[in-house]
């Protein structure tokens, strides 16, 4: 009885989590335009999607920005962690506080303030401003996921490497980085998904004619939702899923 209840409970939770995505995916293969009635299987909407220059551009933009922003943010975040860890306790706490404020800040505030700053310094909004903004809001997440790993690391392995004759960079790359890798990978993935997810900041910092998927969908919704968007959403979901699963498999293999 208890076991049955547990099963039902878990089933309900999973249903709530995945039913919407399931519905979306199913409807993306629907032949008609109806949101309610299934009229037959078709790849029609996928075809239309890939033929649409706008959608393909948006897809490309989204993933290029996400990957570049995540890579840059991970490197900057990692360097920041090295610096923060070397600080005295007082400065460390101040830095962590400064790092946490953007995390708690509402996206809308970040978006508008970035836009204002760009414009004030005479930088016209374009692709690069979006990328720069994404890097900016990703860095705190990277720091947050690497720093705890850094704390676990005993300083003695680094000293042991120096003791055995290694130069400082060699000791860092050969001894410390492999131990930090799980944190680095999760920081990267977090930054990547945050960037793909973002609408608000992108919306305020993008130049004319530059769309990511989220801004594109937003502008299309105003005209009316076409099932191509279901297809697009399915493609994004599957792409992100593939990236996350691969990254997890790789990091698991390394750990073993």
């Amino acid at each position: 009885m208890r076991k049955g209840l547990k099963g039902i409970y878990i089933g309900l939770v999973l249903l709530f989590l995945y039913l919407p995505i399931g519905t979306l995916m199913v409807l993306s293969f629907n032949e008609g335009r109806s949101m309610a009635a299934w009229t037959g299987f078709s790849l029609h909407w996928y075809e239309e999607m890939f033929k649409s220059r706008m959608i393909v551009d948006a897809l490309y933009n989204t993933f290029m920005i996400a990957i570049t922003a995540a890579v840059v943010a991970t490197i900057i975040g990692l360097l920041a962690c090295i610096g923060i860890q070397a600080m005295s306790n007082r400065s460390k706490n101040i830095m962590l506080g400064l790092n946490n404020i953007p995390l708690l800040n509402a996206d809308i505030v970040i978006g508008i303030s970035l836009m204002l700053t760009f414009l004030m310094f005479g930088i016209s909004l374009k692709y690069e401003t979006v990328l720069f903004s994404h890097i900016t809001f990703c860095i705190p997440y990277v720091i947050l996921s690497i720093l705890p790993k850094y704390r676990q690391l005993s300083s003695s392995t680094y000293e042991a490497a120096l003791d055995l004759g290694a130069s400082k960079p060699y000791a860092f790359f050969k001894v410390m980085l492999p131990d930090l890798m799980p944190g680095v990978v999760s920081g990267f993935l977090l930054a990547f998904t945050m960037s793909v997810d973002d609408f608000v900041v992108t919306h305020f910092t993008r130049g004319a004619g530059i769309n990511t998927i989220s801004t594109l969908i937003y502008s299309q919704v105003k005209v009316g939702v076409r099932p191509t968007l279901y297809a697009l959403s399915t493609v994004i979901f599957v792409l992100v899923l593939i990236i996350l699963v691969t990254a997890n498999i790789i990091s698991n293999r390394k750990n073993r």
């Binding site: 005993s154 003695s156 392995t157 000293e159 042991a160 490497a161 120096l162 003791d163 055995l164 004759g165 290694a166 130069s167 400082k168 060699y170 000791a171 050969k174 001894v175 492999p178 131990d179």
Partner: protein, 357 residues
């Protein structure tokens, strides 16, 4: 005559307001097993880290084979360290761990392979090359840390409480292992510990430290049998430290009773500190010894009975293989040889000055 290898000259080091080493001087000779012994916070680990190059002294010099290496970074010193928590590299196999130093110094693969094999044999872990670090027990990890340090053929091996995390039995085993290794390799060991038994068992020379200063330096026998001050006497082994009055040469009055001793030159009727080791007190039936008392406590601790005897207003710690039940009247006597007389420190500063000289 032993050849000098390392000399620490007037080293001082403070962390913030905390003066850890105060004008510290020490000479280490070639092929010596020297132990820095003291309570935590006495500056022993800092001394070791200064020799290893992980700390830079605020003032003073580190001389290694006649060369000033005070500012030389650790990776350029011909010195290797075995760290307190082993500090093995968890993502590398045992072979890779041991080979790390050799790879850095660009030795050939064949040489590295031979060396790793030799080092594993030396620490009795042959055939462990491919194993993972976390599949090893604490004692085995300790041995790998040793092997990793010694393959580089350092002139000096620094050991920072390497046995601290092991259980008693293993610790004793590793002590003999360390002595064997040192004799086989013929290199200098500088060993840091707070465990006095460890220090006495293994060392050629023991340096007792407290408050950033050397309290006494000498062979284990000297340190144990002739402590120079109350701190050393108290820290090394159990001891009874009592007030006494040096009546004249070779005669001391303790708790109102006259004892013969072998010390001279303290003057007449001078107050002194007297150290008597608990195993040196001989108990017998009342009237047969010098001072009578009563057993107030008795515990069997394996090798012997540990008793407390109230005599002359002082509770004496006595160790004996012969048990006297609690409440029984006994008489104590001590061989003149086993009474150690020390000057009374007049004040902390004067004590410090006396020790520096």
């Amino acid at each position: 005559m032993a050849k000098e290898l390392i000399r620490l000259e007037n080293i001082s080091k403070a962390f913030g307001d905390n003066l850890v080493l105060d004008n510290f001087n020490l000479t280490v000779n070639e092929n010596e097993f020297i132990t820095l012994l003291g309570p935590s916070g006495c500056g022993k680990t800092t001394t070791l880290r200064i020799v290893g190059g992980f700390e830079t002294p605020d003032s003073g010099k580190v001389i290694f084979e006649g060369r000033d290496i005070t500012q030389v970074p650790p990776n350029k010193r011909h010195i290797n360290t075995v760290f307190q928590k082993y500090a093995l590299f968890p993502h590398m196999s045992i072979e890779e761990n041991i080979a790390f130093g050799l790879k850095v110094s660009k030795k050939s693969d064949a040489y590295i392979k031979d060396k790793v094999k030799y080092a594993l044999k030396l620490v009795n872990l042959e055939g462990y090359e491919k194993r993972k670090i976390d599949s090893l027990s604490g004692g085995q990890q300790q041995r790998i840390a040793m092997a990793r340090a010694i393959v580089n053929e350092p002139k000096v091996l620094l050991l920072d409480e390497p046995l601290g995390a092991l259980d008693l039995k293993l610790r004793q085993e590793m002590q003999y292992e360390l002595i064997r290794l040192k004799n086989e390799l013929g290199i200098t060991f500088i060993y840091v510990t707070h465990d006095q038994e460890e220090a006495l068992t293994m060392s050629d020379k023991v340096v007792v430290m407290n408050d950033g200063r050397i309290q006494q330096m000498g062979s284990p026998e000297e340190i144990y049998n002739e402590p120079e001050n109350a701190f050393v006497a108290d820290f090394i082994g159990d001891s009874n430290i009592v007030d006494g009055i040096m009546v004249q040469d070779r005669v001391v009055k303790i708790c109102g009773t006259i004892f013969d001793c072998v010390d001279e030159g303290f003057g007449k009727n001078k107050p002194v500190d007297v150290v008597i080791r608990p195993e040196d007190i001989i108990l017998s039936k009342p009237g047969k010894g010098i001072m009578d008392g009563e057993v107030i406590h008795n515990v069997f601790i394996g090798v012997h009975y540990e008793m407390e005897v109230l005599a002359g207003g002082f509770e004496w710690l006595v160790q004996s293989t012969k048990s006297f039940p609690v409440g029984s009247k006994v008489s104590m006597r001590v061989d003149p040889d086993n009474i150690q007389i020390m000057h009374k420190p007049k004040s902390h500063d004067e004590e410090a000055i006396a020790l520096d000289v």
